[in-house]
Symmetry: C2
Amino acid sequence: MNRPGIKDVAKLAGVSVGTVSNVINNVPTVTPERIERVNAAIAQVGYVRNAAAKTLRRGVASAVGVLVLDLNNPFFMEAAEGVTDCLSQTESFMLLASTQASVEKEAELLTLLESHAVRGVLLSPAGASLAAAEEIVQRGTPVVLFDSIATPPTMSSVSVDDASGAALAMQHLLGLGHRRIAFLNGPEDVHQSQQRKRGVDTAIARWSGKEAQLITHNLDSYTIRAGAAGMTKLLAEQHPRPTAIFCANDLIAIGASMTAREQGLRIPDDLSIVGFDDIALASQLSVPLTTVHQPMFQLGWRAANLLLEGAIVRHETFSPELRVRRSTAPPS
Amino acid sequence: MNRPGIKDVAKLAGVSVGTVSNVINNVPTVTPERIERVNAAIAQVGYVRNAAAKTLRRGVASAVGVLVLDLNNPFFMEAAEGVTDCLSQTESFMLLASTQASVEKEAELLTLLESHAVRGVLLSPAGASLAAAEEIVQRGTPVVLFDSIATPPTMSSVSVDDASGAALAMQHLLGLGHRRIAFLNGPEDVHQSQQRKRGVDTAIARWSGKEAQLITHNLDSYTIRAGAAGMTKLLAEQHPRPTAIFCANDLIAIGASMTAREQGLRIPDDLSIVGFDDIALASQLSVPLTTVHQPMFQLGWRAANLLLEGAIVRHETFSPELRVRRSTAPPS
DNA sequence: CTGAAAGCGCTTACAG
DNA sequence: CTGAAAGCGCTTACAG
């Protein structure tokens, strides 16, 4: 008992296979009476169209590949929701996989997607080299870079302006009157850390009010644990202690505020804290976190859209927005 | 300039297309000399095998579909890593999508996967009805249920024993000497809440020591916010206050402990807290959380494995494990 | 061990 | 507006 095909439908409806195909694909030339007859036959035999045959014939599948560094990272998943949303208006769908930040895995998956004739792939590159991506682009599969600083002439890209986000956070703290501010940054070799540092420096440099003092620490990861450790070090080393802390992501901010509370500091009364990312947790904390919101959903949406539009290469940068909540206040 | 096919490779290598196919598929009859010649040709023309043609011919794709309720949920994503890991040993790969807990979306995606002739699908059902899944199983696409209490005769399933996990947590608290314990449970209509409540009750009933007192609250969601609100209510209503709290998930536990700390209670000195799930955050908190670990990675791995094994329907339940960390201690 | 050939289930010019 | 037929790129008996 094989799965019913287009032939079975055609026979039952008393039409040719071409007509069945036209009905399935909404070709407008078919008469209403026949459309109905075909649809009835489809329902009766339980016909499900064979995607492989369609792809083989058409030369391109209706899937879009999405390669992220880590499935557990909420950013990528929010972006993935954006991708899904954009694609849901077309007949395309998302094929999601993780490169686990490995360049080899990335190359492997890229080839896999290419072999499946996907319409294109959204790639959050694992390394600095885009060689593997370049290769499949050369052979005809378009790639859109996602959250990458590279802007090659062969691939579109979407990214968030990390520097201006960091500047926004610093301006907020400076504007509130803070003059002794610590910056708990991520690892030095991550491009996001570099951009955020740049934004911080710009904001300080532009500040025309009374001089402000900045203490920068590079942590070894973007985690709660690192944030807590960073805060402990800060409180031990800095006297007087800073009145505000800008953290390079929300997890660091959560770790820092936990440590601060344990040391008896109240937030925001004794210490203001700003995060970055605006993960779901940020607004749920007992003291909701002021943070720099990254438009991940839109980022994913737009990346998918660029892929579907095809043709011209474009590099788009999204502006993050400051979400002021209760973790920041003027210094006491 | 079309993509090179098997014919181009065959011509260049001076062999038939059948031989090229045999080389690609590691059929052991080909002579080493020809294997080398074909591989050289493949590399030279940049051949990438057309997956659609392969699937059409073979009748089944090398993909496995995975349908989860929510991409942002870390459980599903950890399970997805398990699936990926299991599949990486075969030539299969994962096709991941979210049903957004919608029954209609689920039916739609199920059909989509079926049309792609996936080897099978791992499904975390959105509703109580398995009608749509049953349908594709009937037509020949196997389904393995994931984190569902249903155990139909047509589909295998893997799930975690929520009741025994909850019992583990309660036993731990009772064993430490707590006799006045609160249970902050999730919404009543969620099957996980029901099972966890059952486990709590069993543990209390079995407890042969001095009588223990249990206060149960059903929260309206499994979130930090709900946990914080539940804790506030608990502290306002219960005098004397409980000495230990078991929360139906880690997020509730985090919310509860935030509120407790704000009220000046120290953890675990004044209050012991146990969570459920063991999300990544749990071990990273400033007071690492004692919690019930769910083996999501293994769950995903095993589900994928059951699918690949095929044939017999099997229902497997995994046992959660208590991870004792610093948030619990004997009552003072 | 190898090659020639059929055929998987569609889509798409083409002729009528 | 409809049907007959070619062909997408593979895999797989089959004959040699």
